[in-house]
């Protein structure tokens, strides 16, 4: 037993990612953890989106399955799994069958390099960000083939739209990312890096999040990325590929049941993936607020209390709502369920106060909080914006974001190299 604990501890206290340490077992554990965490996040996201959207739209959202509809996503998942998996007669069965797996594979593989903490990544690749962009771009293949294999007009048009959209917005996205990569190399401590962990460490070393770097250049880059990432994940207001009023459901019109749920899963994990990129690149990844300014150990302690506190707050919310539940025998099970859920959350919160847990979890907590902020934005957009028309979407991508991105690239280079440039220029003028 003691040996086991020591074994685990040696993993936990390692200063390398599992990939970096070359430990396959540990890597598999991490992969499982990321996979489970992601699935839970998608389920939670499903519930949250319906709930938040509902409250934005003066309605209640799911209320029946479980207290406040908490079990709704699970019920949905069961329903989807039990549904008949229809393959249209005229469809190209093999391609139709493979397409959702390509999308899911692409959406999940990117998480290999997402750094949840300085060592909390499956691996730290030298080409981390390149890998993420590359693999996430593979999901286009799945969408295109899904649309084509359905052998139907609406999916085909949806697939054409979405591939055109994703390919064009990848360009603007890439430009914004390159400006960040340039920023990583613009100081004494660090050379430039493509590694996700390296980028965050560069932000730590330079003492500011890249969103504030060379104000307003970092902010513009972030803005470009924030717009492009919504388009990249086919979400409102860029949800043309699945524009309900125009193309019924776009490329996955003909899909049902399990295979449809794979698209759903892929969409949400892709949302989380691009948000993680944004967080890593501009918002300091796992870094807590003010890691340099408030660097005293006391502050470390204060900030490491946040995870526990937030869980306790959630628990308190649960208990408050338990108290507000109708006092009717019919609601007894639901009330107890909600109280139980609050209890679990509270316990989790208490566990998070244990120092040994606390110090290891705080990075992940900050990362997840930032990503959650983006998730909220996604929902907010959906509740607020009408949908772009396709030509307007292309106009935004090619005529607004791309030139801005190019200008940003050049400006970042010029501002970053201003001392060297100045020296060079002086050399030219006064030889």
């Amino acid at each position: 037993m003691h040996a086991l604990i020591q074994y685990i501890q040696s993993y936990l206290d390692s200063n390398q990612t599992p990939g970096g340490a070359g430990n396959i077992f540990w890597a598999i554990v991490y992969i499982m953890l990321v996979f489970i965490g992601l699935s839970v996040a998608v389920i939670a996201m499903n519930w949250l989106e319906r709930k938040i959207l509902a409250h934005m739209q003066v309605r209640l959202g799911p209320m029946r399955v479980g207290p406040h509809g908490l079990l709704q996503p699970i019920a949905d998942a069961i329903k989807l799994l039990l549904k008949e998996d229809i393959i249209p007669a005229e469809a190209d069965a093999a391609v139709f069958w493979i397409a959702p797996f390509i999308v899911v594979l692409a959406a999940f593989t990117v998480f290999v390099v997402v750094p949840f903490g300085p060592t909390h990544a499956i691996t730290d690749m030298n080409i981390g960000i390149l890998f993420m962009l590359g693999v996430s771009s593979l999901s286009v293949l799945g969408i295109v083939t899904a649309g084509w294999a359905s052998n139907s007009h609406y999916p085909l048009i949806g697939a054409l739209r979405s591939s055109a959209q994703m390919v064009s917005y990848e360009v603007a996205m890439g430009l914004a990312v390159i400006s960040v990569i340039m920023m990583t190399s613009l100081n004494d401590q660090s050379t430039g890096t493509l590694s996700m962990i390296g980028i965050v460490q560069a932000q730590l070393a330079q003492g500011e999040w890249f969103i504030f770097k060379f104000f307003p250049l970092g902010l513009i880059g972030f803005g470009i990325f924030a717009i492009a990432m919504v388009a990249e994940t086919n979400r409102a207001p860029f949800d043309l590929p699945e524009a309900e009023s125009e193309l019924t459901a776009g490329f996955h019109t003909e899909y049902s049941g399990f295979r449809w749920s794979l698209f759903f899963l892929a969409e949400y994990s892709a949302m989380i993936a691009v948000s993680s990129i944004a967080v890593t690149l501009w918002l300091g990844g796992w870094l807590r607020p003010f890691p340099n300014l408030l660097s005293a150990p006391t502050w470390d302690l204060v900030f490491s209390l946040f995870p526990g506190i937030s869980f306790l707050l959630l628990a308190a919310m649960c208990f408050y709502n338990t108290a507000r539940m109708p006092k009717h025998p019919l609601f007894r099970v639901q009330t107890m369920g909600l109280a139980g859920f609050g209890l679990v959350l509270g316990l989790l919160g208490l566990i998070l106060f244990i120092p040994a847990v606390r110090i290891r979890v705080t990075d992940i907590f900050w990362f997840a909080t930032k990503v959650a902020g983006f998730m909220y934005l996604y929902i907010w957009y959906r509740g607020t914006f009408p949908r772009y028309r396709f030509d307007q979407l292309m106009k935004v991508g090619w005529k607004v974001l791309l030139p801005t991105g190019l200008a940003l690239l050049i400006l970042t280079a010029v501002v970053g190299m201003r001392t060297e440039l100045w020296a060079e220029l002086q050399g030219v003028w006064r030889p």
Binding site: G19, T123, G134, S137, L141, L160
Partner: protein, 187 residues
């Protein structure tokens, strides 16, 4: 695969390198054969994508992660999507009825045999009976590869390919403009 291959030299020995090499090589060959034998162009394209991805993994095994990443982004993610785009817009039914191979298959076989002979000759003359996987490895590791490519391209002293690189990009630009001009009658 990536997990295992993305290991800096010296930390831990790579795992089952020959196994993965043969796996990827087989995938590539099967994919390549499928590309030319499938009648349905979309199936061919998907086989080609598989081949390209396997190739990217092979680059990783060669400690060239940057090239692997670019391979994925450009070929698998970019060019193949455009391929699929075009293929989807042509009539598959008609293409399936057409003859698949033209009459130059004899020349093709001769050329393929010649190429294979060349490979074997090069292998036998240069390695002279050494194992396919030599014990000695390349010395620079994964972590430096990207930076070294950058240095080769852009470094003030070591950079030799800056001009060639820029010329190539100019060529691509000309190609793009040409395509636009040819495709659109009035701009």
């Amino acid at each position: 695969m990536i997990l295992v291959e993305a290991i800096p030299v010296g930390a831990n020995p790579p795992v089952a390198t020959p196994f993965f090499f043969y796996l990827l090589a087989t995938t590539m060959i099967i994919g390549g054969v499928l590309v030319i034998t499938r009648k349905n162009a979309v199936h061919s394209a998907m086989a080609l994508i598989t081949t390209l991805l396997a190739q990217a993994a092979l680059y990783l095994m060669l400690y060239a992660p940057f090239v692997a990443g670019v391979q994925i982004i450009l070929y698998a993610g970019g060019i193949m999507v455009l391929f699929l785009f075009v293929i989807m817009l042509i009539s598959i039914e008609r293409a399936e009825k057409e003859r698949q191979f033209n009459k130059q298959w004899l020349v093709g076989i001769v050329a393929a045999a010649a190429l294979g002979g060349l490979f074997i000759a090069v292998y036998t003359t240069t390695t002279k009976g050494k194992a396919l996987f030599p014990e000695g490895r390349m010395t620079y590791g994964e972590t430096q590869n990207t930076q070294q490519i950058a240095a080769l391209l852009f470094d003030r002293n070591a950079g030799q390919y800056m001009f060639a690189f820029e010329i190539a990009s100019l060529l691509l630009l000309v190609a793009i403009i040409g395509a636009v001009v040819m495709a659109k009658k009035r701009i």
